[in-house]
Symmetry: C2
Subunit: 173 residues, 2 copies
């Protein structure tokens, strides 16, 4: 069985990083509960939105992301049992490519380079399971599409859902 | 129709770059005709082989590769007619990732980031045609596998072959 796993919002906590950087730089108190069902940039005044959208173009943004709880432990077990591939739509941000490779080396060294994919569109992936936080990626996938919960997708209900990595373990291990 | 196109030896001339760097640094006269059926590193004295294998880890190696003749013109026409994706097994060389993205921006700006894939194994690709110089990539592909001629694959005959981009045009346009 081939399992594809998205990085941002599934393995790496980009959402909270956006909020923390914003709060620090604008001396704001945005909290994640205010953001359910929206992107972070949609939750701030119009004049700040471009600033948030540009976080992903900053050197170091992806390198410093925190690991989503339990993703290391569960992915280690999954990778013993199945063919696990990381699939990140990273090509939009060329400076992120090496940072993402380094981040995987650091936090997921058991997933070798052969099993890492940095791409654009994900509908070219051929496999059995896709774990992703975006419906645009899950929708065209031919296999089992599992939506991993992130604040921005709180109101979507078109896909099988996993709220956290323990639920992924329950489903797949 | 979805067409995947490999980069090295198909769009970018890595083979000749290996020879040129080697000849320059070792004051040698290796020529491509001597290399048919072999990798460049297999054509030099044992004590020089590691040097050649390490070319791909040098900063700038992939950035400076020359474009394979007619690839730009034919890929432009193909991309008007079909969904063309670039698929490069680049993850082994993290420093190459941004260089490859920049190289595509420079020489193939008509192929957007959505259609670029930097990966390891290629058997996760779902599409109709794969143009590649390596049998290990062509073999597991489910669709039409076209071997693009490179000095190293001169003696292989398990796949439909294209000797150059004009032959790709004849086959697919």
């Amino acid at each position: 069985m081939i399992i594809f796993v998205d990085m941002d919002e599934v393995m790496a906590d980009a959402y909270m990083a956006h909020i923390e950087i914003y709060n620090q730089e604008f001396n704001a108190q945005l909290c994640v509960e205010e953001c359910f069902g929206r992107e972070v940039w949609q939750c701030v005044p119009k004049e700040h939105q471009k600033n948030i959208k540009d976080h992903t173009r900053r050197i170091g943004f992806f390198r410093d992301l925190r690991v989503i709880p339990d993703s290391q432990e569960v992915l280690l077990e999954l990778s013993k049992k199945y063919k696990v591939y990381i699939a990140s739509a990273a090509m939009e941000f060329p400076d992120s490519l090496k940072e993402k490779s380094d981040w995987l080396d650091l936090h997921f060294p058991f997933i070798p380079w052969q099993n890492r994919i940095l791409c654009g569109d994900k509908h070219i992936l051929k496999g059995d399971v896709l774990i992703d936080d975006r419906s645009k990626n899950l929708e065209p996938f031919n296999g089992r599409s599992i939506m991993f919960s992130s604040p921005h997708n709180a109101n979507e209900n078109s896909f099988e859902r996993a709220h956290n990595w323990q639920e992924i373990a329950d489903k797949l291990l």
